[in-house]
Symmetry: C2
Subunit: 329 residues, 2 copies
């Protein structure tokens, strides 16, 4: 039987993934919430708000604003919604995931639940763990849209199934990498957004490249400490899915999380920066989620904790980073 | 007895280190080759060609163009000359290092000898290994000159001696970190320049941030593989002296090595790029040196080998990076 796939989410990552899939498949289903946006894409072949330079051939892309229907028509569901909206969107649509394969390109903890997507899908939607695949790795959607070479990691329990599904994404500019570390890759994707905020704060405060390098090296150490504690398996944290993802987010101009941090470092109040940004910065929610998880994990993560205090406890970034700099090495 | 220190080298790193030391000590000796440059600094308090924004108080800095004499007057000799010029400069001056402590801020292999400085000083100048301290870590001299927070690693055999000497460099903007890994930190400093050339080539060829993150993550893995093989001790390659140094060089606008790579990626012939750069790019020599060492080390380092083939065998960067991208993950 031929497998069909749906992308859930009309943002930039969803748009980039629809582009990739549609180049390999005759038909791709695409759910988005906004009917006007759906109409514009159907009529113009362009997503007006996200990656509008990407051409979408409307004849092969079945756009719908009914999530439950989209899910019903397809075998594989690729979630590409910000984690902050996942629970709301899915709670309303009540999609039936029975027998479906769930791919998650969501990079964050589900707020309120404090769960990574793999756990959320298992607990809330009874998706068996072998039917869950996590998509991660250094991948600004803008660059995927521009066809610049990108390595995407596909993490799943069943390696041959994961490998087979990952090949649907293979393009001359997109190389799938297969991994069995669902938990590690997801937590890395969550943590890196917190570290990107830290990098932005440092930049905004006027710290230079010398300090940033120390900060990111220490962030890689905190990432390893956390992931190895919550899910102790043998992994090389220097792989693309972990260190690579951290680097692309912390060093790139495209990162919303880094931009949020830069604004806060320059003196914006946190709420003003969030408003001004006008886009979801996953690291903001991740910071609170990881902070809560750390209540039950015996670890000290100085950078993660500093970012939390700045974002949620109103501590001045100037003072917090002066203290933090004493803990780095 | 009061210890006296001399900085050998009138370039930007030498200038930054003289600034730091002179803020902590009443008197610093400073050797440079060029008599005109020495006169200008004596008269104006500024190094005309390097970090000219840094003020040097000529009353406390004893500038000399006689290396042997400078060495004779001091107990500690801090070498800050490009590795390409070390053998020549010291061969001519024939300094007597007997009883002296040698600090090396040289970041490269000594060409012709293919030795890191710690080995070169021991073999060519009979300096006992416990009298050698390696200074490394993420440290663009420009930012040290601008007093932006920088962590410098001091690696030496005797930890208490190393710690004591490192405290001469402690400033509100400069934090010394003490290490016992002389070989590892030096080799990391050598390798990172090769990886910075690779990062520049990728950038020049039009690869984006997604690929760069994968390249640097793989570079960190190659760094660990090489260093753990040539000097197997327990170390965390994610520390500032290793990963931090790699990041600052590969991601920074100040990096000469990255600039060299960018020019080559954009289509300059290697010799033209070297001429145009008009400054020493340590990675050019490091590439040949490590290539030679790899003859006797059973390791495959795809990035290091690709850079060598582009720099020394005239292979097109377009083709070489297409092949390289198949080896990354």
């Amino acid at each position: 039987v031929k497998k069909s796939i749906a992308v859930i989410g009309g943002g930039s990552w969803g748009t980039a993934l629809v582009k990739v899939l549609h180049e390999n498949l005759p038909e791709v289903f695409w759910y988005m919430r906004n009917p006007e946006q759906a109409d514009i894409i159907r009529n113009t072949g362009r997503n007006p708000r996200y990656l509008s330079f990407v051409e979408i051939d409307p004849s092969g892309v079945r756009i719908s604003t009914d999530m439950a229907e989209t899910v019903r028509h397809t075998d594989m569901i690729l979630l590409a919604i910000p984690s902050a909206f996942i629970a709301g969107a899915m709670g309303k649509a009540r999609p039936d995931f029975t027998g479906k394969i769930l791919l998650s390109a969501v990079k964050g903890l589900v707020p309120g639940h404090n769960l990574i997507m793999a756990d959320f899908l298992q607990r809330q939607y009874r998706v068996p763990s072998e039917d869950i695949i996590i998509i991660t790795g250094p991948s600004h959607s803008e660059e995927v849209g521009m066809e610049r070479l990108t390595y995407l990691t596909f993490a799943g329990k069943d390696q041959s199934k994961t490998s087979e599904i990952s090949s649907l994404f293979k393009r001359h500019y997109l190389k799938p990498v297969v991994s069995d570390d669902i938990y590690g890759t997801e937590y890395a994707a969550v943590l890196k957004n917190i570290f990107a905020i830290a990098a932005g704060i440092a930049h905004g405060l006027g710290y230079g490249d010398n300090f940033l390098a120390v900060l990111i090296a220490n962030a890689a150490q905190e990432m390893k400490a956390f992931i190895d504690t919550v899910h102790p398996i043998d992994r090389d944290i220097k792989s693309s899915a972990y260190l690579g993802d951290l680097l692309v987010t912390a060093y790139s101009q495209f990162s919303r999380n880094r931009t949020l941090g830069t604004m806060i470092g320059k003196g914006y109040r946190v709420q003003s920066a969030l408003l001004e940004l006008n886009q979801v910065a996953e690291g903001y929610y991740a910071s609170e989620g990881i902070h809560n998880i750390l209540h039950s994990v015996p670890l000290s993560l100085p950078i993660v904790e500093s970012v939390y205090r700045i974002l949620y406890e109103g501590i001045s970034p100037v003072i917090e980073f002066k203290l933090l700099s004493e803990h780095l090495k």
